[in-house]
Symmetry: C2
Subunit: 436 residues, 2 copies
Amino acid sequence: METLTVGLLGCGTVGSGVVRLLREHGDDIAARLGARLVLGPVAVRDPGKHRDVDLPLVTDDPRKVVADPDVDIVVEVLGGLEPARSLVLEALEAGKHVVTANKVVMANAGPELAAAARAGGARLEYEAAVAGGVPVIKPMRESLAGDRVRKVLGILNGTTNYILTRMTDDGLPFPAALAEAQRLGYAEADPTADVEGHDAAAKAAILASIAFDARVTPADVHTEGIARITPTDIAHARRMGFVVKLLAIAEEDGGEVTVRVHPALVPHEHPLANVRDAYNAVFVTGDAAGSLMFYGRGAGSLPTASAVVGDVVTVARALLAGERARSRPASEVHTMPAPTLPVRRVRPFETTSVQSYVLLDVVDAPGVLASVAATFGEHAVSIRTVWQEGAGETAQLLLITHAAREGDVRATLADLRALDTVRAVASVIRVEGAEV
Amino acid sequence: METLTVGLLGCGTVGSGVVRLLREHGDDIAARLGARLVLGPVAVRDPGKHRDVDLPLVTDDPRKVVADPDVDIVVEVLGGLEPARSLVLEALEAGKHVVTANKVVMANAGPELAAAARAGGARLEYEAAVAGGVPVIKPMRESLAGDRVRKVLGILNGTTNYILTRMTDDGLPFPAALAEAQRLGYAEADPTADVEGHDAAAKAAILASIAFDARVTPADVHTEGIARITPTDIAHARRMGFVVKLLAIAEEDGGEVTVRVHPALVPHEHPLANVRDAYNAVFVTGDAAGSLMFYGRGAGSLPTASAVVGDVVTVARALLAGERARSRPASEVHTMPAPTLPVRRVRPFETTSVQSYVLLDVVDAPGVLASVAATFGEHAVSIRTVWQEGAGETAQLLLITHAAREGDVRATLADLRALDTVRAVASVIRVEGAEV
């Protein structure tokens, strides 16, 4: 039986999962593929370190893996921008097929790498870069290739979803829920990238690029984290039929695209509301397909490795079919925006239309509601629901708006802060999925 | 720009959706693909009939479409076994790529057609045959190609899911919910194929074949419908934290496979419990990936057409990459079980282990529970929950078992019917997803 050699860049959590799957499922894969996948050289930082998995050939020089003429497929699971980006680029330029799980590389250098893949006649697959073990990249690129995507809503970060689930179920404040997530290994010692939304923003940039044939980088993504969400917000949300989720949102409007990551109130009956704990999900709305959702484990050694090895099999099939030798790669639709597609403008968040939940600490006096309502009215922000809570020192006014321009909502908030009757704007959280 | 011609067999609900998408999304598809998809000849039963869509070239002889040398890709949306099966076979034998939305053809003749595709060097794609617009075939064949699937749970029939949702939400009995579904166009005048589970069984056979590299036909699928489900069952289920769903279940156990379609109690917190109305969903458990779910519209003109056109784009890419000319098709993993894979035995339902909900009409007298419990015990069926309801003429005993051999449960039921204390076995419904 023919063999194909897989070279591995990195052997941490995901890499060791890849090694395990190539071994343990090797016979099944060989039967499905008609060829055997063999693990070739593995580049690691410290070749002397003890590992749970046996590695046939270890090097501390990743360039040796990329340059090895026996390596048919390069798998990059180093994480971070460099040296991962340069190594992937080198491999593609040499016409080597690459599978990567690296969201940072794909979000920041996707179009550049896609161009190198096209030029080199190579394939670049990256299913594991978004939502770990959940197939979402390939379904969006392939199954929806004849459709027109209008909106993508994603729960793309398991750490924050776990924290919000604990806050919702057990009434924990954010710091306690974060501490529990850290204790259980769901959150890192430095949780910034997760809780501030940066991890989700990189994945949102990748999804938006695919969904809308746009060039979206993390810098284009308006990003807010969950650190300011309080048990009070969650309790209010629940009473009104919502749960709080950190959402990645990409939508198309008049040929332009907006991409943002922020906490949002999601109606109880929305499929995303039931995505709990460390699970991920991507909810896609297509013109023809309607509403679709992809759900599963967004992280972890084996789930992520499953997506990586799925990509390796895809690439191996292409190799066996002689795709490397062809003059015109079939990968145009596979890679990030094809050069023939118009570049779409990424629109600033201020000009996007959103619903908002606003919680105000107010003076408990007659005329408060009138002055607050008038302020919303002045900025043409229309109110859907009002709820008054408490009295005296604890009087609160809770409002949900209809969809309104984000910029107008911000101007409203600035004016509300200046009112004598408003002691503070306690919370502002957007509402998503309520008008679907 | 290069063009590829799509020949269409059938122009009913799905076919006219395909024509619309090829037209309305034609420019987007061309930009993504680097080639233009052109609608060629369309075979219809009555060429004189008025249609909402304009067709360039109509014939009442489908063989003309298959034999047309200008047709690059044949799309089969006729439905039913013949002449669809023969036409697909002819096309594949002639080396023509085929996209079909036909569950009956794929469930009954999948392996035969896959062999013809391999022999002809052609591709056979059938994403729309299961769960309409939801990408599930390709994710299972490709993204999970490096994993090992253990179990598949699917809500694969929108009609019955709509009926069960109405029965659950509004307390309607089955005939009233069916009548409403018929009035709204969710159920056909003759609803047999849907309500008796035959439609779901064909789709279950296809999914099981892919998931377990097995040869499963609809005849291998133990099939029960929903006509006997009562509002009482649904109310009891709800009280115990379950909803009633018609599930397609395929699982692997010791190298063998069981496939079945029947109503089942699903715990409220299971992702499938929230799949409402006419939506479909497939919940897959893989060794490495863990739990995955794919959710969306399982039927309808445009959702199904979206999946068909997605397949057409996939096939077009392969064509443009010169895949037709290659000596060794890459389609082994794409098609139904590869010839190199061991054939797995499909095990009869009687030998499968399941949890059951059993509702008994009992005599309201001392010792009833003891005699019932003893009967379960004699067959080694262990009881998880018991609930006594009503008194006198309406006394009922409601039991949920632990997982037990289906054959043992049936033997228990036969013995229960013979007890003086048991007036009738009112309902038996299996329980799924509770021990995950």
